[in-house]
Symmetry: C2
Subunit: 155 residues, 2 copies
DNA sequence: AAAAGATCATTGACAATTTCAACGATCTAT
DNA sequence: ATAGATCGTTGAAATTGTCAATGATCTTTT
């Protein structure tokens, strides 16, 4: 994410064969969205990643840090920092794993859930803005295709 | 891209609301694909980005470095390094802009085009592997939706 | 039941990347 | 002409990514 702007720039070069590369398209849309998202989350002292951790902590799924690392495509040590920060701010708590005492389950505090609710609605607005060129049906379709590409038909 | 593996990990947490966030889905699919792509390109001494620059250099579109930066969502200084490397290896050349003498137009050498052809076919295989959970029609649809989200219906 | 080997969170070191401010050269507008 | 913007480039600073080592705990093998 180099361009601080949201503008996705001259589509002139999109005519190249590379304008059809899934990898590049993913990178570009992701970069553009990150700027939007981080800008919106800054009001809450959050970034995309800490928001993701907070969301999962609020989900009731009781994720371990290892699961967070896998799911968010992060190194376990990065999760430590993310959780440290959220825990220091009282939004999240580490509790010992039930079957596995090595693992730490991340759960949200009441305050964390309040914060999450507010941040979530801000993010939804972002997403809507990011996909404004698509109809609602197309946006849903995009989501479904991305999920299927990642996890197969099962998810 | 933390996990060096291609495995996209436990979909258990995908049940969370965040498993529908476009931002996260893009990040995950992009991260997984990057590992694949960079692994394949390593045989040619290329990475995703240098390959992108090389591709645009081969496109006949005569992009300036500024255009490359915009299109690839990179800082202009990052493009300098990328082009430096490719130029040192004789794959690409800087030529002075026609209307604007500040600008540098990046074009490919004959050797650059040979390299590009080989790398391209390796990458196509990657993309196919990355999207193996999708049918061909779905992959095309995904491409079209990403393009529309980025550049609107026009592109 | 004990030992060996794997996995979890954590730390800290190191490398790579991103971001930013400054610069000379050139372009554009006043 | 002059003033202000833009292009590529450099280099420094901040952020991120990667990796190896550790103690605690789990799992598997004997």
């Amino acid at each position: 994410m180099a361009t601080q702007s949201t503008e996705v720039g001259t589509p002139r070069l999109a005519a190249s064969r590379i304008g059809n590369d899934i990898g590049l398209l993913l990178a570009k849309l992701h970069a553009a969205g990150s700027v939007l998202n981080n800008r919106a989350l800054a009001d809450f002292g959050l970034r995309e990643r800490s928001f993701s951790v907070l969301t999962l902590a609020c989900s009731g799924l009781e994720p371990t840090q290892r699961e967070l690392a896998d799911f968010l495509s992060l190194d376990p040590s990065q999760v430590v920092s993310l959780v440290d920060d959220l825990e220091r701010r009282g939004l999240v708590e580490r509790t010992q794993g039930k079957q596995d005492r090595r693992a730490k389950i991340i759960t949200s505090t009441a305050e964390g859930r309040k914060m999450h609710t507010k941040a979530r609605s801000a993010l939804d607005a972002c997403e809507h803005e990011q996909l404004s060129a698509l109809t609602t049906a197309e946006a849903d379709q995009l989501r479904a295709l991305l999920r299927k590409a990642l996890w197969g038909a099962g998810a």
